[in-house]
Amino acid sequence: MLTCIQSGRVIDPANRRDEVGDVWMHDGRIVDAPQGAKADQTFDATGKIVMAGAIDIHSHIAGANENMGRLMRPEMHHPGHEAAPVPFPFSDAVSSTFATGCRYAEMGFTFVVEPAVAPRQALQAHLELADIPIIDKATLAVLGNDDFLLDLMRKRESPDAVRNYVAWTLATSRSLGIKVVNPGGAAAFKANARAFGLDDIVPFYGVSSRAIVKALQRAVHELGVPHPLHVHCNNLGLAGNVDTALATIAAAEGLPLHLAHLQFYGYGREGECGFSSAGARLAEAVNGAKSVTVDVGQVMFGDTVTISSDVLRQFNARQQARPRKWAIIEGDGNGGGIVPYRYRADDFYNAVQWAVGLELFLLIDDPWRVFFTTDHPNGAPFTAYPDIFALLMSHELRAQWISSLPAAAMEVTTLASIRREYTFNEIATMTRAAPAKLFGLSDRGHLGAGAVADIAVYENDNDRAKMFRSAALVFKGGDLVVRDGNITQYRFGRALTVRPGQDRAIERRLADYYDARYGLRHDFMKVPDNALGRPDPFELVPCAD
């Protein structure tokens, strides 16, 4: 079927297009305007904004830790209105996989990456993703606190061994990339360390956090995996931790490296409370390090649950739990911690955190290298995104918020002095074109011929939050899935994966390892297609040669 979205303002930075015009699609793909052909179906987008479907590169939406977060907080699940039949199964079950797909689609998102899957929990993560309707999704596999890798490094084995192990992990866990979370910190915590920095040494293994980052960065790069190593640095959330982030940025040494939720590392020790924004310093460092990409992890005020594979950090944060309950899970590699938290607008520290995130968005000058996240649900639930778009696009709105926040907090940030306002083109770059590039996806994040027909159409409403909260139209793979902010049908997307080549010898070695150490077959963590209950659940993204 030939479909045309007519006369909208088409904003497509990947193809340098920003003009009033049409977008055509056929059989789920975008096509060039056909000569003389008549559309079978047309949608009038006059006065509206047309963009590719948005991509969220870092959002904790699936996996055992996320599920523990759901089960821990039954009190958060009230849908906020009187119980009434819902049009689609579980679409109002707050925090359920089904609601996750619906809420993302309603905002015009069509692809979301779950960034922290322990390889041994990959099957559960993919089962959860399979029950997220509408959108495409992917996982990043977490390495860097696992005994097998640390032992390779302890024995000073060659980079080849690390590379083969990384390739095997990507293939087995059906992931799109590799993440490292507080490298070495979880392993050190098992040996009773209570703090862990970039140049600290993991007990027994004798390797530093820095060495783990460098080994994984190199392996991912040499394998040709499009997404660079995704790093959750040490010392998350601590005053003065900007030094850790700056040192990690420097450690990229010109090779690609992605730093996650940088806001949580943007803290200095200035001011009366010994806690201040270092957002400006950090942004300057990112601007100068062209091989580095970052996402923000913006904080917004309200109730949330922090869910992290950084078990050491979560253990140290347990006393801040609101309400006062928490779970710390000592996993085979990283494990995780689930700590409910309430960000308060009248709290000095939380107000500084809010400002740091916005400083990073506004002071990092290249929208191709700074990505839009709240580290859902850690900084805020992803449903807060529309309010953040509004803040980025209006200096005046920010000024209103600033005037209601603790003055002492605003004094230790530069936010009030920043006048920059994001344009639609920059928003589309940051949430569409750049994320597709970051994951090596040639057929997503843009509206050129051949792209998957993932399209979001918005009313051009001066209330930007309202505009981005409920898209006028959303197409996923050419199917109309949202109209006037409401879901029109369930369909199921796929999980994107990479499968770089590996030396088969690693398979034999891992079999011996799992047998000797755990008395288990090494394939207990496999994720077979037919276990997921959806047809054709995976899509392979090519690696560089």
């Binding site: 689609f88 929990q121 099957l123 029950d131 209950g533």
Partner: protein, 377 residues
Amino acid sequence: MDRGGIDHAGVGRAWIDGRPATLDAAAAEAGRLLADSRLPVIAGLGTDVAGARAAIALAERLGGAVDHMHAGQLLRDLDIVREARVMLTTPNEARVRADTVLLVGPDLSVAWPDLAPRLLDAPMGHEVVDGARHVFALCPGRSPVKRARETIEAIGRNAGELPDVLAALRARLAGRPVGKLSVSAKRLDALATALQAARFGVVVWSSASLDALSIEMLCGLVADLNARTRFSGLPLAPADNAAGVLQVCGWMTGFPMRTGFGRGSSEHDPWRFDAVRMVESGEADCALWISAYRSAPPPWTRKLPTIVLGAVDVDASNASHVHIAVGRPSIDHDAVEYLAATGTLAAIVASKKNDSLSVADAIGRIAAHLRPDDRPC
């Protein structure tokens, strides 16, 4: 576990009111009973992940409720997560790291028959400096866990003493005085000292034999120990894939089992959606009972229209109006289920693969006979 003489050719058979029927006729009759029901309850839920997904989706479509035969036990552990704090570890991590293990309460080797070989007697990881493992048992009752070579030191005997002994132990760890107990103060203090000396200790319990307050006390004790050293908990999962079904219910609905859909969206209430209460009180007027791992019968006494998806096709003539025999997950058909050895969901290739029906297949056939409904299920 063998099927006790039931031959595989019998799998896939079905009965209506005790008389053999075709699978289609049985599925149609099941569909009619469910469609005519005002409030159906889907209970038992002894099934694999695919079966749980299908059952929960069916309950949502019907506006019914879901419960699991071991939900009461599961919720005792989960209540601590929902109301207090827990520090947990995996069976693998306990195996390679635990230099000190505290077994709490009776019947642990019933809850996990492989407890001794997989954990207590297994070699420790190379990263552990001193490879010796010290094991203590708190109130183990009359059938304590046994190690292959070494002995396990028992402190307290009867499970009935456990709440008092646990409270006293936690008090001694905090340096507080305790009153007179059946366990001597000296032994209690020696245990407290041993736990504090652990480098990575693990507490093992089964909520089958512990009440909620004892589990909370135990989790508090673990949290206290982490002020100085490392300690973690390993609760043993109930049978019938209860922990796997819990995960599915969590991601699909946001809630554990004992969740209802009668008012449109998911609502969780451990009392309201207790299947036994719903049936005995007359609130539920139709039951779909699922027990694919073994032929556990429904635990209620009141008669009501009942559909059984059961592992073994005997007793088909009794309580149920419709009985469909299904295969055992991971034996008769491939399945995803919770694996006690790893504490994760795992995809298991069937050990005696045959063409028996899975719970998901059976529910799919029943759902096909429901009234037209444009919702995807």
